[in-house]
């Protein structure tokens, strides 16, 4: 057990923590943008998965990383348009639209994979182009800290930058102001001529890019191939992270880090010969426990605050 604790504080674990957080941070930021503009986007999982496949295919068929990125982002935008068109323009139920995208993605990716590679499981026969790892000059030379912070995948650094970018977008730009207004009171926004559907459409598209990058990280960074159903619920965890972070970019980022911690932990425990199936439950149990604790402490804090206030009020009367 002491070995485990030691490992958690090792630079290897911290490095891995950041590594597994990346595919949660990006889609969680996407979910934040959607939530804030009043769209509950349940299709994250499907968009991630499809982008993961198309990133690999684009790279392999085009012969460079550029084509991989282009194909991955294009398919994400395409699926986002599909979701937005059905949900926002045709006013179909968002749960239906999201579930449809996820279900389609599960079958569609395997179908396309087999069509192109003849295999149903992985894209290992294709030549993969991955996002490069980046060593940060100076930082990489710092002992321990350098091992933790430097040498990550390019997308990991982009994910961190995106936290700031989304803060800027939502709180500093006219577009962000309109999105927040549309999310909180669509009638107020439309009464001053802000087109609610257009705003939400834009939000879904912007978040589509973030979600797609999250998906591509899985097949072009985390691993360097596509495997079927490789998102394994990360889209839903990202949604939970966005919700737990109160739909603020920083809150979602911190929540994603919490979930990633347990994801990382499950990787280590696997090494300790704890049954893989048990270990694989951990991130999800952590998600449920996290949400439960969050609710409980909010209720408790509220009650205690009230009790204190009553006592104070009584005192001041005497």
């Amino acid at each position: 057990m002491s070995g485990l604790v030691g490992y958690i504080f090792s630079s290897d674990f911290l490095y891995m923590w950041i590594r597994v957080a990346t595919p949660l941070i990006l889609p969680a930021l996407g979910a934040v943008i959607c939530n804030r503009s009043g769209v509950v986007h349940l299709g994250l999982e499907g968009i991630m998965l499809t982008a993961a496949l198309f990133g690999v295919l684009g790279g392999a068929l085009g012969g460079s990383l550029f084509w991989g990125i282009a194909a991955g982002i294009l398919i994400s935008l395409l699926l986002s348009v599909l979701f937005a068109y059905f949900h926002l323009s045709l006013r179909a139920n968002n749960v239906l639209c999201g579930t449809a995208i996820n279900t389609i993605a599960g079958g569609f990716t395997v179908f396309v994979l087999e069509l192109i590679t003849g295999e149903k499981g992985t894209s290992s026969s294709l030549r993969s182009f991955s996002f490069p790892n980046v060593n940060i000059p100076l930082v990489e030379d710092i002992p321990v800290l350098g091992d933790v912070l430097s040498g990550h995948n390019l997308l990991t650094y982009i994910a961190i930058l995106m936290v700031f970018a989304v803060v800027f977008l939502l709180y500093k730009t006219p577009l962000g102001l309109r999105m927040r207004a549309v999310g909180e009171n669509p009638n107020a926004a439309s009464s001053v001529g802000v087109n609610v559907t257009k705003m939400r459409f834009t939000a879904v598209l912007i978040s589509g890019v973030l979600i797609g990058l999250g998906g591509m990280y899985l097949s072009m960074g985390y691993l360097n191939m596509f495997t079927r159903d490789m998102t394994a619920g990360r889209g839903f965890i990202a949604l939970a992270a966005a919700a737990m972070g109160q739909s603020t970019p920083v809150g979602a980022f911190l929540s994603a880090m919490v979930f990633a911690f347990f994801d990382g932990l499950s990787n280590i425990l696997q090494l300790l010969r704890i049954p893989a199936e048990f270990v694989q439950m951990l991130p999800y149990i952590a998600t449920i426990a996290g949400l439960t604790l969050y609710s409980i402490q909010r209720i408790y804090r509220f009650k205690r605050k009230n009790r204190l206030r009553v006592i104070e009020a009584e005192k001041s009367r005497q």
Binding site: T173, P174, A181, A188, S190, S191, V192, V310, A313
Partner: protein
């Protein structure tokens, strides 16, 4: 009244002033909704530049629809609109704003978590590079607020503002967007008497600056007081345009409802009986810890209507929630029909024969999509008259009951099976009344029972409440309508900042002025006078 300069010019040129410039003409507007409801039947509505024009009619008469068409939120089935003499097609609110038409909605169109400046600049944000130019936004808000003498702090969050301030933001929002014609939809419904007076002064200033104001209201005294002309709508048709100097309140109400409405409330004197509501040392705190009700005590007896007067937001909402079991209270006791309701659920409390006519009927008064019939039996699911022991409904019984309710409570609807949301405000309120009063309650908590309800339905509701009181029941009446609290109540308590500041045992002897002074906290009774409301024998 200061005439706008262009009219003065006309006068200088010797042209007859009575031929004022038309700011707006809606001609033969007809609106038929997809469900077949005819909201407007060939309505012609003309407003002159620089006048305050009242648009009055009962709820459901079609004035909201007409204004939605003018603001581009609805499209007319037929008819034409002219703005400043030009034929226009108002396809959206954006187009309306471009034509200089601004609307102050009854339910404010504001985003609570954003600041005043952000709300006002939404959609027309000044930019600096990619960013919003906050400094400039703030400056523009200050300038316009100063120019029209509508003081407001640009950096305050809208959720922290009072209702009156929110309304100022709404008016400024329209002015900032270049509105020359302002539509105000029942603007005084949510205001205190003082705020109302302030609003009138502000609107008069705007009028003297050449702005045109359309004032939707069915408060006839207000209309009479400061509007120039009135257009009356009844059942989708115009009943004519009149200068307000030539028409009396009685005549207006006759045109609105087609018969004389008794504006006075008449009731007999009766002797109150035993206490039915006993509240002692009640204290209610808000989530934020703010004290909303501070140590109040009162008694309502059988056969008595106790009115609560007070500017909204002085603890009325929290008090009603505590009395009906919908909200918490922190210390003190509430006894209804002899039972302490601490830790009792809403349904336990209802079983004590307590009825609640809620303030917000659309949210907690009814289930909008259910039928009139379903809404009247919705609280009777454990009544074996309507449901078998297994929980199955007895359709024919329920149908009969629905028909009876529609008859007894004069609910105007095609059949009792139409969804409640398709009815007008007054008829929705009658549906609530049917459910709450038909069960034979002993205690009735009536929260703004006639707010936003047309004159005819108001009269009906008031009569029902008086009949309930005459039958020996207790009524706790919360209302922001001064006429109503004075006319309907036997005794009145005044709530100010969560405390009872006055008990007026005989409402018929109270003047509006006196009540107003207590409501605004200018005057306050001694604790001995206030404790009279307990109706306890002193040793």
């Amino acid at each position: 009244m200061h005439l706008p300069c262009f009219i003065q010019k006309i006068r200088a040129g010797g042209v007859n002033v009575n031929q004022a410039v038309e700011a707006l003409r809606m001609e033969n507007i007809t609106k038929v909704y997809p469900n077949g409801v005819i909201a407007n039947k060939s309505v012609t509505f003309v407003v002159n530049q620089g006048e305050i024009h009242a648009l009055s009619g009962e709820n459901g008469a079609g004035k909201s629809t007409l204004m939605k068409i003018l603001f581009g939120e609805e499209q007319p089935t037929s008819g034409t609109i002219f703005a400043n003499g030009q034929k226009v097609n108002i396809s959206s609110p954006t187009e309306a704003i471009r034509l200089g038409i601004g609307m102050v909605h009854q339910h404010f169109m504001l985003v609570p978590s954003l600041t005043v400046a952000e709300n006002m600049m939404l959609g027309i944000e000044p930019r600096k590079g990619l960013k919003i130019d906050r400094k400039r936004a703030e400056k523009e808000v200050r300038e316009i607020s100063h120019k029209y003498n509508l003081p407001i702090e640009p950096n305050e969050r809208v959720e922290d503002l009072t209702v009156g301030q929110k309304q100022k933001v709404e008016i400024l929002k329209a002015l900032l967007r270049g509105a020359k014609i302002l539509i105000l939809d029942e603007p005084t419904a949510v205001l205190t008497p003082q705020e109302t007076r302030e609003l009138f002064a502000e609107l008069k200033t705007l009028r003297s600056n050449g702005y045109t104001i359309i004032f939707i209201s069915h408060k006839l005294n207000e209309v009479k007081e400061f509007c120039d002309r009135i257009t009356i709508i009844r059942r989708g048709q115009t009943m004519g345009v009149y200068p307000l100097s030539d028409i009396s309140e009685q005549e207006i109400s006759k045109l609105m409802v087609g018969r004389d409405v008794i504006l006075k409330i008449s009731k007999n004197k009766i002797l109150p009986g035993a206490p039915a509501i006993k509240v002692r040392n009640l204290k209610i705190l808000e989530e934020s810890g703010r004290v909303r009700i501070n140590n109040i005590s009162f008694t309502v007896r059988e056969g008595e209507i106790l009115g609560v007067a007070g500017v909204e937001g002085n603890g009325q909402a929290q008090l009603v929630k505590a009395l009906t079991g919908l909200g918490p209270y922190h210390s003190g006791s509430i006894e209804l029909c002899g039972t302490d309701i601490r830790k009792k659920s809403v349904s336990d409390i209802r079983k004590l024969s307590v009825a609640h006519i809620p303030e917000d009927r659309m949210t907690i008064g009814i289930a909008p999509r259910l039928s009139v019939t379903e809404n009247t039996v919705i609280d009777k699911t454990d009544n074996i008259r309507f449901f078998t022991r297994l929980g199955l409904s007895k359709s024919s019984e329920i149908r009969e009951y629905g028909k009876k309710m529609v008859r007894d409570y004069h609910i105007l609807c095609k059949t009792p099976d139409v969804s409640v949301e398709s009815l007008s405000g007054g008829n929705i309120q009658k549906t609530v009344l049917a459910r709450e009063l038909s069960g034979g309650p002993k205690v009735i908590i009536a929260d703004q029972p006639t707010r936003g309800v047309d004159v005819g339905a108001t009269e009906f509701i008031r009569r029902q409440l008086i009949a309930m009181r005459d039958a020996g029941n207790s009524i706790f009446l919360i209302t922001s309508d001064l006429n109503e609290v004075l006319g309907l109540s036997d005794g009145i308590i005044v709530l100010f900042e969560g405390e009872i500041t006055a008990y007026l045992p005989d409402a018929s002897n109270v003047t509006e002025e006196e009540l107003g002074q207590y409501m605004l906290g200018i005057k306050r009774q001694s604790p001995e006078q206030i404790s009279e409301v307990l109706h306890e024998q002193k040793d």
